[in-house]
Symmetry: C2
Subunit: 214 residues, 2 copies
């Protein structure tokens, strides 16, 4: 275990904790206080470490994901769907006309883009919740530009799928790409959005109009 720790940079107590929580398989016992670890352990340990650190996943969520990963009956597509859901915010709208309107608007958008309508997907529920709250606060103008945001989101998703590639035989890599790529990608895209906003704002509201100080 000391060697495993040296190979991965993960402290021994953390490794013990991950093994106890069922996130990393135990080594093959070779003596009373000895066990063998192989490359599979090294990879798994690195995966768990980065899911927890960069994907913000809890132990319980990772345990469920690792069980699916280790289950040969679990199909690739379902595994990726499960991985994606671990990093999807779930926000429900309270029932009412705003929510009904939001649900219809989203369903129409999904149809216009040729996306698949999955009413129970947490991402669908969250999008409906946000649209409903935008109506509630009177920001209907934001709902009107939904198509532009959806076009940008599709561009992002196309890039995500390109990154993933069409070879899913390495399931640990695929899970890592989906979780880290999506979680970290959200923040990266949010940062790029603000950098672009700052540039475009300066062009749209130039110095003469912004004031004399610059």
């Amino acid at each position: 275990m000391a060697e495993l720790s040296a190979a991965t940079g993960v402290p021994v107590p953390t490794i013990k904790y991950y093994v106890r929580e069922g996130l990393v398989p135990a080594g093959r016992p070779t003596g009373r206080n000895q066990a063998d670890y192989d490359d599979g352990h090294v990879r798994r340990l690195k995966l768990v470490r980065s899911l927890s650190e960069y994907g913000g996943l809890s132990i319980a969520v990772m345990r469920d994901l690792m069980q699916r990963l280790d289950n040969p009956e679990e199909h690739d597509f379902d595994l990726l769907g499960a991985a994606q859901k671990t990093i999807t915010e779930h926000r429900e709208a309270s029932p009412g006309t705003d929510r009904d309107q939001a649900e219809q608007e989203l369903a129409e958008l999904v149809a216009r883009r040729g996306w698949r309508w999955e009413p129970h997907h947490p991402a669908t529920r969250t999008a409906i919740g946000i649209l409903a709250s935008l109506h509630e606060v009177g920001r209907d103008d934001m709902v009107e530009v939904l198509d532009s945001y959806a076009a940008a989101a599709e561009l992002i998703a196309e890039t995500d799928i390109r990154l993933l590639g069409d070879d899913l035989t390495d399931r640990e890599r695929a899970v890592e790409i989906v979780v880290i790529g999506t979680a970290v990608g959200d923040t990266l895209i949010a940062a790029l959005r603000r950098i672009a906003q700052a540039t475009l704002a300066r062009r749209t509201y130039p110095a003469e109009r912004a004031g004399q100080s610059r």
Copy 2:
């Protein structure tokens, strides 16, 4: 104040708290326990309420923003920049070759897109931090597709600016659009990204390959 509460749906104790914290101006006193409130109070109260609820802004951050909003010397462009920074994550990378490489990559990207390079902008620091951590965990492939993510981010920012319009005379509306539009928009775009991912994944990894269960 009871009427102000009825007009805005904000409970009286909350209004008192906002006034005490300097977020909403006090009413004009008309008697010992009476004060006059006008439409300006109603709008301000609604703005503070939604910045706090949907923008996730703290009292301290809102106080600073309200002071800028009320300061006629503060130029529109600076006000919007300040509003934008209130909802920008600030994540610094630790010094090292990963960070230097990340900074150069981002500077090159910004140049390619014709964006303005603002090395001290929190969004710039955060983007550098993310790129550095992607290098650190060996996810250089995600850095390679940066141009695609940046193109999508620019599309989003163009929509943001279109929403804002070029009339900034209503400064409270402009602040609300920047803060709520950006904060809520991040979550909305993340949700749309996942809906699009699910559709594209199903196309790319069809049922035959995903397994026999469907």
